[in-house]
Amino acid sequence: MLQILFDALSLGSLYALGALGIALIFGVMRLVNFAHGDVIAFSVFALLWPSTDALAIVFAGQLPWYLLIPFVLIVGALLSVLCEIVVYRRFRHASPATMMIASFALGFVIRYFLLMLFTSRPKSISLLPALGQPVEIFGARLPLLQLITIVATICILLALTLFLRRTRFGLEMRAAAENFSMARMLGVRANNVIMGAFAISGALAGAIALIFGSQTGTLDIQMGASVMLMAFIATVIGGLGSLPGAVLAGFLLGAASVVMQVFLPIDARPFRDAFVYGAVILVLLFSPQGLISARGTKERV
């Protein structure tokens, strides 16, 4: 039972971090950033030297962990900010649909850039191998990585909450999320806030890349896609733009996925995701605004 709880929490953490990265950007500029998944892939591919050989040439991946972790986070953040400066800034006044299409296109550009450098063959890398050992906790035997994932996610969430509640920049960001034009009129510098949101979102993508990479040992140019899809669904059921909602829904999705895998009969298990998405539809039927709807997105009468 405890084992199932840990399984659910660790998978949920991954989805929650992804959902947070998407919700942050949606909050400040109403953009559903579909390139987020490809930022995840890029930030971990940055550890390899570009080569089309089957064998991965590990480059920055050889750094000790206290340099490697910041390296990946910074790559994610930089790429994300670069996307903002080069692409999204030009779409600031475009409709959300246009921005969404732009984000799809940008995602393709990043993915095909990786394809060009590394080919479509998945690359293998031993990332943070020390985390591969099993540990015993309250009678449940689980990989150390699972534990670290859960702890790290909780720390990231706490830090982000403090940042948003206690700092001036966080206040500006929350104000911008609530009512962007009003915030600008009151002296919030839009570019800074948006770039900040992109940087945090990119760093979150880097964190997912690290967890994903050390869990699977495999880097694939499409690796971000499945997490991105789940994370996007989480932001929707959490209430678009609502940060606590996104996190909560991320954990719920992870839990639903694990619970279905455990309790569905063997013949139904291949269709697990169909059941998960069915549950998502049910949630949206009963609560179309999401679990915790953001104040800024509510229709005002």
Partner: protein, 397 residues
């Protein structure tokens, strides 16, 4: 000139133009309608190179039916619509044999184009039964071995040679290839159960799953760790599954399909042991057949790198068996060549015997080498041929 004669003359002229292949009697043409770019390129190119090595060998030995083989290519760009165009393109250039993409889904459009034109096609390394009569037509073949043979061979080998008694089945539902491995395992398992083996559980996962923790928890809930886990999966999710199984402290022997061959991914699971893969020949320099080593050297000389997995070899086999059939038929004409191919029974090739019948243009049995990964080092530890071929019911399941 009367109208009728003029019409006849025009018709004759257009027939002459439509058959450029007949115009050139000095050479035989092999067309490659495979991916030279995009997602499939990494899988098609190695098999293409191996096929090229066989073509060069034949040309160096005086050619086929006394004619040199010339090669024409067209890029499928890893796209199915482009695949059909690439097939037509090499046919227009006069191909007598069309080599198509390694995967059934990507290779089928070009193979269908060849089928329509009455030309023989070979999938360079597809392992689905559809890559042949069942999915394309009577002129289509595959150079590789069916996926069910891999699952069945590994189960029988583990039971007979490694004394494995309890088995667990873990299926990745992503591709038909994965299901094929487990279909073969499912066919073999009742036979082994009569002799004292036991299937203690089964589960499924998806290749893209971020975590298979729930599946692992189910294995750990068993009263005893199973002797062997049949893992029906492929890259990239397969590596992830293996890594998570070992990280959770499950040390059962892991049985795989050939899709897990290759040492390039082993860095992801340091010190992996007790991990078994069926291969048509060894890329690790320890193949019992010295000619395989020679081939590996030739491949390295040509491409600058060792073969990355056993999927290099079927490309060589495809050209090899086709050229033998052409030699015996005395022509490249499709019907005669197919008839000769279908006469092949345990035809020796560099990578094991091959059999084709009028029902199956694929291998329902094969000699496999078993590679074990021991402390991160892969090497051949045995050889296995199924006690009987996998029957059509199990293949078509």
């Amino acid at each position: 000139m009367s109208y009728k004669v003029r019409l006849l003359a025009t018709a004759l002229a257009s027939v002459g133009m439509a058959l450029p292949a007949l115009a050139d009697d000095e050479t035989i043409t092999v067309g490659f309608a495979t991916a030279q770019s995009g997602a499939m390129q990494a899988y098609d190119k190695p098999a293409d190179e191996a096929a090229m090595i066989r073509i060069e060998e034949i040309n160096a030995a005086g050619g086929l039916l006394g004619k040199q083989i010339q090669v024409v290519t067209a890029d499928t760009k890893s796209d199915r619509a482009e695949g059909a165009k690439a097939g037509l393109s090499v046919l227009d250039q006069g191909a007598d044999l069309v080599i198509v993409s390694c995967d059934y889904d990507f290779g089928a459009p070009a193979a269908l184009a060849a089928q329509d034109a009455g030309i023989v096609s070979f999938f360079s390394c597809a392992e689905s039964v559809k890559a042949g009569i069942q999915g394309v037509g009577p002129l289509s073949f595959s150079g590789s071995v069916l996926a069910p043979v891999q699952g069945a061979a590994m189960a029988e080998w583990a039971f007979k040679e490694k004394d494995a008694k309890t088995f667990y089945k873990l299926l990745d539902t992503w591709t038909v290839y994965n299901k094929g491995i487990c279909d073969g395992f499912d066919w073999m398992m009742p036979k082994l159960e009569e002799q004292g083996a036991k299937l203690v559980g089964e589960d499924t996962f998806k290749n893209e799953d971020a975590s298979i923790a729930a599946q692992i928890t189910r294995i750990k809930a068993l009263p005893e760790e199973p002797d062997a886990i049949m893992l029906c999966t492929m890259m990239p999710g397969g590596v992830s599954a293996v890594k998570q199984l070992r990280a959770a402290g499950i040390n059962s022997m892991i049985l795989n399909g050939s899709g897990m061959d290759g040492s390039y991914w082993l860095s992801a699971v340091p010190d992996l042991s007790n991990f078994y893969i069926p291969v048509q020949a060894s890329i690790y320099g320890d193949d019992p057949n010295p000619d395989v080593k020679k081939f590996n050297e030739a491949y390295k000389a040509k491409t600058g790198a060792d073969p990355s997995s056993q999927y290099v070899y079927p490309g060589y086999v495809a050209v090899d068996v086709w050229s033998k059939a052409v030699e015996r038929a005395g022509t490249t004409e499709a019907e005669a060549v197919v008839a000769e191919l279908e006469k092949m029974k345990d035809e020796p090739t560099l990578f094991g015997p091959r059999t084709f019948t009028s029902e199956l243009h694929h291998q329902a049995n094969a000699r496999y080498l078993v590679v074990n990964v021991d402390k991160g080092k892969p090497g051949v530890v045995g050889e296995w041929t199924l006690s009987e071929p996998v029957p059509m019911e199990a293949i078509l399941k």
